[in-house]
C-alpha cells in the first residue's frame, strides 16, 4: 500500500468481502436494520430531557435581571472627554429613556409571568405520569391482544364457558351445603312420609303409561320410581346425593349417581319415552332450567312426555309454608314461564294441573266472592304439574 489510491482499493476489497460474506449467509440479512431499530427504540424511550430545576434557576435569574433603571446605564468611555459627553446626552434624553424603560419593564413582567406558567404546565404532566399512563395503555393493549387471539367461534365458546361457570357455582353452593343431618330425615319431615308421597303422586305416575323408558331426574328417595315400577314402566332415577342413591338402590330401584342435567345431555337423542322432574326444577339455576327443557325435547322420542311438578309461586301460602322450609330451594318457577319454555322447545298438548290445596281450615270461610278472591291468592294450590308431549 504505497499510494493514496491504495486506501480506495482497500475499501473496494472490503466491500467485495462484505458482499461475499453476505452471500454465504455469515451476516443476517436484516442485521443493520435490526441494529438501527434497536437503538431507535431505546432512544425513543429515553427519560425527559428537561431539567426543571435548571429552568427555575434561569427564571429567578430573569427576576434579578429585571431591575431596569437609568442608574445601570454606563457612561464611562475610553475616549478623552467621552464620559462627560455620554452623561450630558443621557440627561438630555432621560425622559425618553425612562419611558422606554417603563415599557420594557411592563413587557418583561408579562413575559416572566407567562414563562412561570409555562414551567408549571411543562413540569406537572411529567414523565412519571406519562410512564404510568403508558403502562396502563400497555396493559390494555395486551388484554386486547389476548381477546384477538381467541378463535373465531369464541362467542360460542364463551357461552359454553358461562354455562359451565353457572353450573360450577351451583355445584359449589350445593357442595358447600352439607348438613349434618341426613337428607332422608329432612324429606320425611317436610315432604311427607313415604306412604304419603306414594299416595300423592300415584295419579302423576299414571301419565307415563306406555312411555317406557322413563327417567326420573332428581329422584330423591325414589317414591316416584316405585310408583312407575308398580305400573310396569321401565324407569331409571338420577340423583346427586350419594346417600339417597344408596337408599334407593337398597330398595331395588335403578338409580344413577350424577347431575341430572349432565346425565340428560349425555343421553342418546330420541332414546327416552318419558322424563319426570318432581320437586326438582326449583333447585336448578336459570340456565339449567332452560337447558333441561331443550335437552328433554331432544332426548324424548316423538310422542314422549315430560312432567314437571313444582311449587306454585301464584299461591302466597306456599311462601309462608313449604318453599322456604327447604334451604336448597333456589327460585320458584312460574307456570307461565314453564309453559313458554316448553312451547319454545317444540312441545305440544301442554296441560297444567293444580295440586295440593291448603287445608280448608286454614283459609277464609267462603262467605262471599271477596273471601273467595282472597282465598285464591292467599290459599291457592301449593303445587302444580305441567305435562307436555313431544
Amino acid at each position: 500500500m504505497d499510494s493514496p489510491t491504495a486506501i480506495d482499493d482497500l475499501i473496494k476489497r472490503l466491500r467485495d468481502r462484505v458482499e461475499e460474506r453476505r452471500g454465504r449467509g455469515l451476516y443476517p440479512a436484516d442485521l443493520e436494520a435490526d441494529l438501527d431499530a434497536h437503538f431507535e427504540r431505546i432512544a425513543a424511550h429515553r427519560p425527559s430531557p428537561y431539567d426543571y430545576d435548571q429552568l427555575r434557576q434561569r427564571l429567578s435569574e430573569l427576576d434579578e435581571a429585571m431591575g431596569f433603571s437609568p442608574a445601570h446605564i454606563v457612561y464611562e468611555s475610553g475616549l478623552p472627554g467621552g464620559t462627560a459627553l455620554h452623561r450630558s446626552i443621557g440627561k438630555m434624553v432621560s425622559r425618553q429613556t425612562a419611558g422606554i424603560l417603563e415599557q420594557m419593564h411592563r413587557y418583561a413582567e408579562a413575559m416572566r409571568d407567562v414563562l412561570r406558567e409555562v414551567v408549571v404546565v411543562l413540569e406537572h404532566p411529567n414523565s412519571h405520569v406519562h410512564a404510568e399512563l403508558l403502562g396502563q395503555v400497555d396493559g390494555i393493549v395486551e388484554r386486547l391482544a389476548d381477546f384477538e387471539r381467541l378463535p373465531a367461534d369464541s362467542i360460542v365458546g364463551l357461552a359454553d364457558l358461562r354455562r359451565r361457570l353457572e353450573r360450577l357455582e351451583a355445584a359449589e353452593a350445593a357442595r358447600r351445603f352439607e348438613p349434618w343431618y341426613p337428607n332422608e330425615r329432612f324429606e320425611d319431615e317436610f315432604r311427607g312420609s313415604r306412604s304419603e308421597l306414594l299416595a300423592r303422586y300415584d295419579d302423576l305416575a299414571a301419565r307415563f303409561d306406555g312411555c317406557d323408558p322413563v327417567v326420573d331426574l332428581g329422584c330423591g328417595r325414589g317414591e316416584f320410581l316405585e310408583l312407575l315400577g308398580k305400573r310396569g314402566i321401565a324407569a331409571t332415577g338420577v340423583e346427586l346425593d350419594p346417600e339417597l342413591v344408596k337408599a334407593g338402590m337398597a330398595r331395588g330401584l335403578e338409580v344413577i349417581h350424577g347431575d341430572a342435567v349432565e346425565w340428560l345431555a349425555g343421553a342418546p337423542s330420541g332414546s327416552l319415552g318419558g322424563i319426570a322432574l318432581v320437586q326438582v326444577i326449583e333447585h336448578l339455576t336459570a340456565g339449567d332450567r332452560a337447558d333441561v327443557v331443550r335437552l328433554a325435547a331432544e332426548k324424548l322420542r316423538p310422542g314422549g312426555r315430560i312432567l314437571i311438578e313444582t311449587v306454585n309461586p301464584q299461591s302466597l301460602y306456599v311462601f309462608s309454608h313449604a318453599f322456604y322450609a327447604d334451604p336448597t330451594h333456589d327460585k320458584p318457577v312460574h307456570p307461565a314461564y314453564l309453559d313458554f319454555l316448553l312451547k319454545e322447545a317444540g312441545f305440544g298438548q301442554i296441560a297444567i294441573e293444580w295440586r295440593s290445596l291448603p287445608s280448608p281450615d286454614e283459609s277464609l270461610e267462603p262467605v262471599d266472592t271477596n273471601a273467595e278472591r282472597v282465598n285464591r291468592i292467599l290459599f291457592g294450590p301449593q303445587d302444580y304439574a305441567i305435562i307436555a308431549t313431544r
Binding site: 500500500m1 504505497d2 499510494s3 493514496p4 486506501i7 482497500l10 475499501i11 472490503l14 466491500r15 468481502r17 462484505v18 460474506r21 455469515l26 451476516y27 442485521l31 443493520e32 441494529l35 438501527d36 434497536h38 437503538f39 431505546i42 432512544a43 429515553r46 427519560p47 425527559s48 430531557p49 475610553g78
Partner: protein
C-alpha cells in the same frame, strides 16, 4: 499592542479552551495577552479571567489592539461585549456543531448552537479577519460572507503530548486487557455517532474478532443520550465495550499508548484533533469521510465512505487489526502527516496572519 482572547466557556479538556491557552503562549511573545470567558470551570480559575473583569486586566487601549473571539455556542452577554468593544475583532472558528441532532435530547442546547450560528453570521462585518482551523470551516465562513478568511492550522504540541507520563495504575489496568483494543476519543454527542460505533463493534466481536475491546473516552454532556447509549451497549451484551468518561492527561496518555486502533464514526467535525493525537502515538486510524475529517486525515488512515455501514466499518477494523503490514504503513503515514501540522510552522503562520491586520 495587546491581543486578548474571549471564549464563552472555559473547561479542562475542551478543544477550544486548549487552543486558546496554547495561543496565549504565542501571543505573550508579542504583548500582554489574557484569556477571558463568561463561564469558567473552577479548575481553570487561575488561568482564565472572568469576562466581567475585562477592564481590570487589560492595559490602556491602543488602536492596534486585537480581540480574538473563539466562536461557539450563542451567549447574548458575550455577543454584546464583542459587538461593542472598540478593539478590532479577529474571529477564530473551530466550527459550531449542527443543532438538529441535539433537538431530541437537549432542545435548550440545540437553541444555543443555533444562536451561535446566528451570532457568527451577525459578526461578519465586525471581523477584520477570520481564522479557520480547516478548509471545511473556512468554507462555512466564506458562505456566511466573511471577507478575509484564512486557514490557520491548530497549534498542537505533539512533543508535549508524547511527554505526558502515563498514569501507572491505568497502565496496569489497560495491560490486563487481553485482545486488541480499539479507542474512540470524543464527547458522547449524537453527531459523533457513538451509536454507529457500537453497532460496528457489535458486528466486529460477533462475527470477526471476538476478543476485541472498545474504550470510549470523553465527557457525556447529554445525560439522556449517554443513558440511551449505555442501555444499547448492555442490551447488545457488549461487555468488552466501555465508556471511560473524561480522563486526566496521564490517564488519557495511558489509553493512547495501549490502543491498537483509533476509530471514529463521527459525521461532523471541524477538525478532529484525536486523529493528530493518534498519529503522535503511532496508532492507526479509521474514520468516515465527513466534514473536515478527510483533510485532517489525508492518506494517513482508513477513510471510509460517508454512508452508515456498520458491517463495512467492522470489516475495516478487522482488516487493520489483522494485517501487520497495513498497520505499519498507516503508522508511518501518520508520522509523516504530523509534518503538515508542525506546531512551529502553525505558530509562525498564525502570527503572520495576525500581524498582517495590525
Amino acid at each position: 499592542m495587546q491581543i486578548h482572547q474571549v471564549l464563552v466557556t472555559a473547561s479542562p479538556g475542551d478543544a477550544i479552551t486548549n487552543s486558546a491557552l496554547e495561543l496565549r503562549k504565542l501571543l505573550r511573545q508579542v504583548g500582554p495577552s489574557e484569556v477571558f470567558a463568561r463561564y469558567i470551570h473552577p479548575d481553570l480559575a487561575d488561568q482564565v479571567r472572568r469576562l466581567d473583569d475585562y477592564d481590570r486586566h487589560r492595559a490602556n487601549w491602543t488602536p492596534n489592539d486585537l480581540l480574538l473571539f473563539h466562536a461557539s455556542i450563542g451567549e447574548p452577554h458575550v455577543y454584546s461585549f464583542i459587538s461593542e468593544r472598540p478593539e478590532r475583532l479577529v474571529l477564530v472558528y473551530h466550527n459550531i456543531s449542527p443543532a438538529a441532532p441535539f433537538l431530541p435530547y437537549d432542545p435548550a442546547f440545540a437553541g444555543l448552537l443555533e444562536a451561535g450560528r446566528q451570532e457568527l453570521a451577525a459578526l461578519r462585518d465586525r471581523a477584520v479577519l477570520a481564522l479557520a482551523d480547516s478548509q471545511f470551516n473556512a468554507d462555512e465562513l466564506i458562505e456566511l460572507g466573511y471577507r478575509d478568511v484564512r486557514v490557520a492550522r491548530l497549534i498542537i504540541d505533539v512533543d508535549r503530548l508524547r511527554q505526558i507520563e502515563p498514569e501507572p495504575q491505568m497502565v496496569e489496568w489497560l495491560d490486563r486487557i487481553e485482545g486488541p483494543v480499539l479507542l474512540f476519543v470524543g464527547q458522547l454527542l449524537p453527531h459523533k455517532r457513538p451509536d454507529l460505533l457500537l453497532k460496528a463493534f457489535h458486528v466486529l466481536v460477533t462475527y470477526l474478532v471476538p476478543d476485541a475491546h472498545l474504550l470510549m473516552v470523553g465527557t457525556n454532556r447529554l445525560p439522556g443520550y449517554a443513558e440511551a447509549l449505555e442501555l444499547f451497549r448492555r442490551e447488545l451484551n457488549l461487555g468488552a465495550a466501555s465508556f471511560r468518561g473524561s480522563l486526566s492527561d496521564p490517564a488519557w496518555a495511558a489509553h493512547f499508548r495501549r490502543a491498537d486502533l483509533f476509530v471514529s464514526a463521527s459525521e461532523h467535525e471541524g477538525f478532529l484533533v484525536p486523529l493528530i493525537e493518534s498519529f503522535a502515538f503511532d496508532v492507526p486510524t479509521i474514520a468516515r469521510a465527513h466534514a473536515a475529517i478527510p483533510e485532517t486525515m489525508g492518506d494517513a488512515g482508513v477513510l471510509l465512505p460517508p454512508e452508515d455501514d456498520p458491517i463495512l466499518m467492522a470489516e475495516a477494523m478487522a482488516e487493520v487489526l489483522g494485517d501487520a503490514s497495513l498497520r505499519s504503513t498507516l503508522v508511518a503515514r501518520g508520522r509523516k502527516r504530523l509534518e503538515v501540522f508542525d506546531p512551529d510552522v502553525a505558530r509562525a503562520a498564525l502570527l503572520d496572519h495576525l500581524l498582517s491586520v495590525v
